[in-house]
Symmetry: C2
Subunit: 110 residues, 2 copies
């Protein structure tokens, strides 16, 4: 399970359509910042702010070779956030299983 | 699939440990604001700000009866955000299935 600080940063990073689109694009393959920026009509400094938020969340790592910066998605970091949803669902499930058990017991006692 | 604005608001709401704890608590059952606030050493106005962020994201609805405000989780809204993760995973899967197919083909041609 990702710790609270990690989850804060990952959910914050995902709370923006540009950043979610970048994550989706990087899910296909690593890409350069220019490739990632191309679909958005955005000045490069503004786009770089989004990349930095993604890097701070550890969802994305980047490396520079010459003048080209290439970004890669860290899927395990996304999986950590997904796990939080799984945990919520398993809590609900436990609750409803218990309720089912109780109802079955009450029904048997009638 | 939840739209972009909804996803922005839901992920923003989840980017905080107090709000995630409230969502987890409401997953067990509806609860009053006082019950929800009890575990946190926080002034009520500060806690109410978190409740308002959760309400804005539509993750939580609340209703007032007399002086008591009761909050309820809207699970379908959480499920919408979870779906976003499912979609990313299915994109990767398609990509790797294609890669597997390609590798199998290349291997057959050797």
């Amino acid at each position: 399970m990702a710790n609270n600080q990690t989850l804060d940063a990952v959910f914050h990073a995902l709370a923006d359509p540009t950043r979610r689109a970048v994550v989706q694009q990087l899910g296909r393959s690593p890409a350069t910042v220019s490739e990632l920026a191309a679909p958005f009509g955005m000045a490069l400094p503004s786009f770089m702010k989004h990349i930095r938020v993604l890097e701070n969340s550890k969802l994305v790592v980047s490396a520079k070779a010459g003048r080209v910066r290439t970004c890669t998605l860290r899927r395990e970091c996304l999986a950590g956030a997904e796990l939080w949803f799984d945990e919520q669902r398993s809590l609900w499930k436990t609750r409803y299983d218990n309720l089912d058990g109780l109802l079955a017991k009450l029904s048997g006692e009638e």
